[in-house]
């Protein structure tokens, strides 16, 4: 028969993280050579509807497996149920679907992915260690309402509690470099005594580092998340203390492997198959 | 001049001892520094046709805007049917029985003629659904009544020419029964046929006791239709008297404060040369139904008139020559050499100017300063290296302004603040500023007062003497007969007759004009 078809649904292809993920998956497909990969992304991360449309289109095309990084942990449950009802193998990766929503829909789905909260806690703790107890920090949040933004913020808060840091302010910059730059420089005006910054992704961390450059402040420590390639020089220069690598390129490939196992008649997947995360600092940056 | 006195029969009725329906006492209004009304007193009896005349900028339109609730007076008292009258919105005015046809059009271009006519009260059923059949039938009747038979009421108004639009406006005002009907220069764009019909309607209204305020710059019309006339000058009432007790000369003196110059007389010597500056050979535009198109010759220094009924295709001819719309076929010879104009720009570069009939839509940039309007077609002569020289621009405006006797607050005032007739002069100034060799004029004195008209005639003639060739479209036959060296008559997009100056007469022109029409419609 034909090779099995895997539909890969991502949040957005328009950033390094997901781009790495896609390239990882494509390389994987080439290497294995025993399945056909179809991938789609969305215009922006809050465009739940178009991800839903993507899932529906895959059901229409009758793919064998759908591997999805859900844009919203609850909205995607119903269409995925529809896919499962249509006999399609579904694997959830990157962001976990909401447990309650899954239970409500009566489905049981495994999750292949990293621990966003744990990762944020890890990088937060690196900052805490550098500052010591009582260090004054601010958080730059991701898009309010986005699951990974919420998870990362919780992780930062965990680290703050554990390290007995002092949280001065927490604001969103919607994942964006320019907004982070503006918002942070204003926060710095309001709180000149800031000692550390936790940015929920590296794009925002870059904006923060630039604001510090412009203000001539080299005493403030910054941590980010994602380990995009643009932060490598910042890590080397010590302008960025640490970031977290979730190995996105590996993640999609792993999830596809799992899906193909099931398609080939393997046992149903269960629970949380955690993928690797790693703290990246000056010492281990490539 | 002779005047037909068709209104005479009604005069005795109208002058009965009725209490006035509308009374204005010492109404004043200023716009910033400009005094528009400086004490107007006026009284209109029921069933009276009241003429309101005055120079451009005398304040007629402002007075009307006050009456219909668009502009609030600074002081003065107005009484309507014996009660105090202070309309806040046009709605109030309508509720009190006042209907107005404004000088500037207020139509909805993409809606149908019928919807435009019924816009005040669209016939509706209980659910607010428009009764379309009833509306179309009503509109048809209304248009027939004012003689607009060749217009389909379902057409969007944007398809109509300017005269037809004017008639639609009139039809709309006639839809509601009103106590007072105000017509601000309704005849400025009409030919005599439509004007006659409008007067029949006014006569009918008068006999039903409706009062009509009628503004016009055509004094013969005032004498034909009005029972009483009020003259405004500089925003003040000069006098107000029964039509029978005044004369043409007295009205003119009242308006301009002096005797009219000789230019109105029609015995000037032709300055037409023999050199042909513009010829059309089988010239056709997209609307023209005839394969052979139009052929004519225009000579240096000549004033060639084009007469015709509304819709005979005169405007379209001028627009096609000017390449405002790309022509279809045929040849233009410019100074003997074939020329192709693909855009107004090219026409202008070859020395042609075009005064359009619709100054609001096509002629003026109302919200910009007068000077900017005057210099619009000759910006290169008031600029250096692309930089505007405001001093030069103002000087040019002031010079042309005084040539044309423009009444204005200053070159930097918005064109919108000018009275209708003065706006028309600005359009003329825009083209004269270029010193063109050929000037196409479409209704050049639309809304221009008697005095200014004389000045414009003199000016046109002065330019003709200097060699300017003019092609003049006008719906006023006296205007053509005064100005032109030669008149061509158009009907159904064809030239149906040509008259040298010696043969000018209204009868001959109208015979040609109607002849074409009869041939077409088989009457």
């Amino acid at each position: 028969a034909d090779k099995p078809v895997v539909g890969l649904v991502m949040k957005s292809l328009a950033n390094d993280f997901f781009k790495n993920m896609l390239e990882g998956a494509e390389a994987h497909a080439k290497k294995r050579g025993d399945y056909e990969l179809k991938a789609i992304g969305m215009q922006n991360e809050t465009d739940f509807e178009s991800q839903l449309n993507g899932v529906e289109n895959f059901i229409t095309q009758g793919v064998d497996a759908i591997v999805i990084a859900p844009a919203d942990s609850r909205a995607m449950v119903a269409p995925l149920k529809k896919a499962m009802d249509a006999g399609i193998t579904v694997v959830n990766f990157d962001v976990s679907l909401d447990e309650q929503a899954k239970k409500d829909a009566g489905i049981d789905l495994a999750f292949v992915g990293p621990d966003n909260r744990g990762g944020a806690k890890m990088v937060g703790e690196a900052l805490a260690k550098a500052l010591g107890e009582g260090g004054k920090v601010v958080i730059l949040e991701g898009n309010p309402g986005a699951d990974n933004a919420a998870q990362r913020k919780l992780g930062f808060e965990d680290a703050i509690a554990a390290g007995k840091l002092n949280l001065l302010d927490s604001r969103t910059a919607h994942w964006e470099t320019e907004e982070a730059n503006s918002v942070f420089s204003t926060m710095l005006t309001a709180h000149p005594d800031i000692q550390g910054v936790m940015a929920a992704n590296d794009s925002m961390a870059i904006g923060v580092v630039k604001a510090l450059d412009a203000a001539g402040r080299s005493d403030i420590k910054v941590v980010g998340f994602d380990n995009v390639s643009a932060v490598a020089p910042l890590l080397k220069d010590g302008k960025l203390l640490a970031t977290v690598d979730q190995f996105g390129s590996q993640m999609a490939a792993d999830a596809i492997d799992k899906a193909l196992e099931v398609v080939a008649g393997g046992p149903k997947l269960e629970g949380w198959i955690k993928t690797n995360i790693e703290l990246v600092t000056k010492d281990n940056v490539k | 001049m002779t005047h037909s006195h068709s209104g005479a029969a009604h005069r005795t009725v109208a002058e009965g001892a009725h209490a006035p329906v509308l009374e204005l006492h010492d109404v004043r209004k200023r716009f910033g520094g400009t005094v528009a009304l400086n004490g107007v007193t006026l009284s209109v009896a029921p069933g009276e046709v009241h003429g309101l005349i005055g120079e451009n900028g005398a304040g007629k339109s402002t007075l009307i805007k006050i009456l219909c609730g668009i502009v609030k007076p600074d002081s003065g008292a107005i009484r309507l049917a014996g009660e105090n009258y202070e309309p806040q919105t046009p709605r109030d005015a309508k509720a009190r029985g006042l209907q107005v046809v404004h000088q500037e059009f207020n139509l909805l271009p993409f809606l149908s003629v019928a919807e435009n006519i019924f816009i005040e009260h669209l016939p509706r059923n209980l659910f607010g659904v428009v009764k379309r059949d009833e509306m179309n039938a009503g509109a048809r009747k209304a248009l027939d009544a004012i003689g607009l038979k060749d217009v389909d009421v379902r057409w969007p108004v944007e398809r109509l020419g300017i005269a037809h639009r004017q008639l639609v406006e009139v039809a709309r005002a006639l839809m509601t029964d009103s106590r007072v009907l105000i017509l601000d220069e309704p005849t400025a764009t009409l030919t005599s046929r439509e004007t006659d019909r409008l007067f029949t309607i006014i006569d009918d209204l008068r006999s039903r006791g409706v009062s009509v305020i009628f503004v016009s710059h055509h004094l013969d019309e005032i004498f034909r239709i009005c029972d009483r006339v009020t003259v405004l000058r500089n925003g003040e009432t000069v006098f107000s008297r029964p039509i029978g007790e005044t004369s043409h000369d007295e009205l003119v003196r009242g308006m301009v404060g002096q005797q009219l110059q000789k230019e109105m007389a029609s015995d000037t010597i032709s300055s037409a040369g023999t050199e042909t500056v513009l010829s059309l050979v089988n010239f056709r535009h997209t609307q023209s139904p005839h394969v052979d198109g139009i052929s004519l010759d225009l000579h240096r220094g000549e004033i060639l008139g084009i007469a015709g009924l509304v819709g005979s295709g005169r405007t379209e001819l001028l627009r096609a020559i000017f390449a405002a719309e790309p022509p279809l076929s045929g040849t233009i010879l410019r100074g003997g050499k074939p020329a192709v104009f693909r855009s107004p720009r090219e026409a202008i570069q070859s020395g042609i100017g075009f005064v359009t009939e619709d100054r609001k839509e096509e002629g003026l940039i109302l919200t910009m300063p007068i000077a900017a309007n005057v210099s619009l077609a000759s910006l290169s002569s008031v600029s250096r290296l692309g930089l505007l020289d405001r001093t030069m621009e103002n000087a040019m405006t002031e010079k042309l302004g005084s040539d044309l006797k423009l009444k204005y607050g200053g070159p930097s005032k918005q064109a919108a603040t000018l009275s209708g007739g003065n706006q028309q002069k600005v359009v003329l100034a825009k083209w004269l500023a270029r010193n063109p060799q050929i000037l196409l004029l479409d209704e050049p004195t639309r809304g221009v007062d008697v005095g200014a008209k004389a000045e414009i005639y003199a000016l046109i003639r002065r330019f003709a003497e200097k060699g300017l060739a003019l092609l003049v479209v006008s719906s006023e036959l006296p205007e053509l007969m005064t100005l032109c060296d030669r008149i061509m008559v158009m009907s159904q997009h064809r030239i149906v007759g040509e008259l040298p100056r010696a043969d000018f007469s209204e009868e001959k022109i109208l015979t040609y004009a109607y002849q074409g029409e009869r041939r077409q419609t088989g009457h």
Partner: protein, 320 residues
């Protein structure tokens, strides 16, 4: 009105031609495009944009614009979602109240949009830009940026119901198109909206109150946002404060591709329907066609422009 409606039919047909070309192209070039399943997908996918675009048609016809529909969608949804998840209500009552809440919220926001712009004579662009921020902030504030879910099962199921293979939510949208068409073309109210878009001064001089009609147009748009919010919730089974970002551009695009003039006074809701179809077919077809996302985005831009060019081209040749 035969001449005019003929012209309008032709006008709609113009954009219809573009739609037809797209459909033919995708049918030939992709395998699954013309399957019943995919067609019902497309219909579902255009539903929300179509409902928003109907309301936008009213606003654009009077020469206004509404940039706040995306944010209002989120605000309506979270308010309705809160109502829908009140415990111990029967499904009927909960859904009824939620619908009222969604439409009510939309009506209030729309009314404010209309009233502020009409009363102060402000450009609706700026007023609704303000509302865009206000509604989004309010949606985030009332939910504290949390997603609302756990709606009644039968409500969730309703979002994917089909009748003869046609999604019920699309039928709702179609019914709204029919009502809007009727209101705009047959009633006095509708004709006056066109009138205001044509020449608002003329309508005022004819003795009508502009305020009433302007406020009404924005309020209708708001009510439709409320309905769209309910459809969104039924379809995605969540109400989140961050949904709807950028939806206003899609709705406006549907209206304008559908031939409605941005300066008002000209256009039909049937055109809007076709415009929404073009956008939906394009999004669906390009995915099936298997283009990369970035190419897809570029081609979308090109096709949007081509669609209106085709319409213009047809207009030019039929005029000649």
């Amino acid at each position: 009105m035969k001449g005019m409606s003929m012209k309008l039919v032709l006008r709609d047909a113009g954009i219809g031609i573009a739609l037809l070309l797209l459909i033919v192209f995708f049918s030939l070039s992709t395998e699954h495009f013309l399957t019943p399943n995919n067609i019902s997908n497309i219909l579902t996918q255009i539903t929300i944009n179509l409902i928003l675009a109907i309301g936008m048609t009213f606003v654009i016809l009077i020469g206004g614009i509404d940039l706040s529909v995306g944010s209002m969608l989120a605000f309506c949804a979270v308010v309705a979602g809160t109502v829908l998840t009140i415990p111990d209500l029967s499904v009927f009552v909960a859904v009824g109240l939620a619908t009222l809440a969604a439409i009510g919220t939309g009506v209030v926001c729309g009314f404010l949009n209309g009233w502020i712009s009409a009363f102060w004579g402000l450009p609706s662009f700026i007023v609704t830009l303000g509302m865009l921020n206000i509604a989004r902030g309010a949606a985030l504030q009332v939910t504290d940026a949390r997603t609302i879910y756990s709606f009644p099962q039968s409500f969730n199921a309703f979002g994917s119901q089909m009748v003869f293979g046609v999604p019920v939510v699309f039928l709702i949208a179609l019914a709204l198109v029919a009502v809007a068409w009727f209101v705009l073309s047959k009633t006095v109210f509708g004709r006056l909206l066109y009138g205001i878009g044509n020449n608002e001064e003329a309508v005022r001089l004819a003795g009508h109150s502009l305020m009433v009609y302007k406020v009404a147009a924005f309020t209708i748009a708001g009510a439709l946002v409320g309905i769209a919010a309910m459809v969104y919730m039924a379809r995605l089974n969540i109400a989140s404060p961050i949904i709807g970002i950028g939806f206003e551009l899609n709705a406006i695009a549907a209206v304008i591709i559908g031939g409605t003039s941005l300066s008002g006074g000209r256009g039909t809701v049937i055109g809007t329907l076709l415009g929404a179809c073009i956008i939906g077919v394009l999004a669906n077809g390009l995915i099936l066609f298997g283009l990369s996302d970035f190419m897809r985005q570029m081609i979308t831009g090109v096709v949007i422009i081509l669609a209106v060019i085709i319409d213009k081209y047809r207009e030019r040749i039929t005029a000649a």
